[in-house]
Subunit: 304 residues, 2 copies
């Protein structure tokens, strides 16, 4: 079975944790302990978020006065390097002898996507109002409220086409564990001439994972995060966990707010387009989620 | 014919140019114009330097006070993302329809390598004495004289084993252009337990290219830089360009100083171990160098 596992940025770096390299390395090692056993039984493609990491890289770039600040396509490529390496190294240590490949992935978006005029995706740490004002004045970044503070927000256009899926399919067929499409992929757009250029955006990694899973013919897609299931209402305290459901039922709930919105949308799209298996749940329960005994399982027929 | 082409960091970012993303993007596009025609005739594996880029990433990380500074293995992975993406995108624009894969590459070094006690590899920009003193006090970095100023210097241990060569060979056999081992690879070392960990170093990208070319069975290795050939003496003004030579003859010259030392050593090693073709020369003349009509050509028998 070919499984695409998407590791949430928050599962790799928990809220309020400092963005230190050592903290990330430890979290990735923990995450891989939960994922590695699946690679013994199945073909595995791993993708990951980069919201905290690309926010950090942008802050580091903005703090150094020597050069003009770096655009989000280049920072996204840097984050694929940073997080991809940490995952590859942890996997190599967990699965001696396994063949692993970490690929940079460019993902095409529509340059006319309305998201470019509405920066809605939060990246980086939470700032106080005063810090956000100071940064906004210095960088021209936009900010949105988040919890008790503010986070930088950037455009998040729809992924339209994953570049390099043939390479991914080739490696999977050869038994290689592939890490790719990190952070939703490096955002690029085609010009009318056919040329490609990078764009200032961060693509949602769950929506890219759904498109990737569809294009490489995955049997199952797991969206792994820091909560055990989709809840019937938000905030969690007022509802109950949903165990088995269908895209139609999920779309009837109002889950757009918070980070669950894109996960639910991604799971619905994959199941609607492929009639296969998607699930959302806690990273530590990855194996049980794949077996259908934990998390929220999404299929076309919930009697399965 | 399988060709490994190593693009020098200085060829991608010339001395005294600012490290802006736009400048790098333009330089990479120019470099790829010189490389792309070879991909129409030969199987091509591209590797690249990262001295300027990893130096910049370290400066950016040090300028941001929010987190502890990042170690060189993680920064090296970031630089493979940054430069690898720029190369992949330029290649995709130059060769419509070509399959391209950019892989992160970990390279094993010996943790007892004496290089760890002698930081000799310069990275990043040239600083004034005052700037270098201020940075040294704030970061514990070491600096070495370079031209009229100072550059940060880091340990540069010998590459011992390229991880992931089977994946590279598989992709090359399938007709994919592979970009890998950027910046000499992400430096890792094995513990006595067998576990792997990242180390604080920057591996020489030409020495890694030679090991890579040997391990994947390349027919030719091109070390492409910003000078047209190896000169018989250094500085260039006092000698003449060497056109055809052997490892024995090259090792008899005293070329260790400057950036030509590692290139000469890398070319000698590849030719001695494989009895195949290595050459050193200007990036813009890549095709002519491969045909033997430009650059310094190194083979076991210089009458060829």
């Amino acid at each position: 079975m070919l499984v695409v596992a998407a590791l949430g940025g928050n599962a790799l770096l928990r809220r309020n944790q400092p963005l230190d390299a050592a903290v990330q390395r430890r979290n990735v090692e923990d995450a891989i302990k939960a994922i590695a056993p699946m690679a013994r039984k199945h073909q595995l493609v791993i993708t990951h978020g980069n919201g905290p990491q690309i926010g950090l890289l942008a802050l580091q770039a903005a703090a150094y006065k020597g050069v003009a600040s770096y655009p989000l396509d280049v920072l996204s490529a840097e984050s694929e390097g940073m997080v991809g390496y940490l995952i590859e190294q942890a996997l190599a240590n967990a699965l001696a002898g396994a063949e692993i490949a970490t690929l940079l992935t460019r993902v095409e978006v529509d340059p006319a996507d309305p998201a470019f005029t509405r920066p809605t995706k939060p990246i980086g740490p939470i700032f106080s109002a005063a810090e956000a004002r100071e940064l906004a004045a210095r960088t021209a970044w936009t900010f949105m409220p988040d919890g008790d503070g503010y986070r930088r927000s950037v455009p998040s256009p729809e992924p339209r086409r994953i570049r390099g899926t043939n390479v991914i399919k080739r490696l999977v067929a050869a038994g290689v564990i592939v890490i790719c499409a990190g952070g939703g992929g490096i955002p690029i757009a085609a010009e009318s001439s056919g040329g490609l250029h990078g764009v200032e955006a961060v693509i949602d990694k769950d929506l890219s994972a759904a498109l990737l899973a569809q294009e490489i013919g995955a049997d199952a897609m797991l969206l792994l995060t820091d909560v055990p299931a989709v809840w019937s209402e938000w905030p969690m305290a007022s509802g109950h966990p949903i165990r088995r459901t269908t895209p139609a039922e999920l779309r009837g709930l109002n889950l757009a707010s918070g980070s669950m919105g894109p996960k639910v949308e991604a799971a619905c799209r994959f199941v609607e387009r492929t009639r296969r298996f998607a699930a959302i749940g806690a990273l530590e329960q990855a194996e049980a989620i794949l077996e259908g005994s934990a998390g929220t399982v999404v299929t076309m027929d919930d009697s399965q």
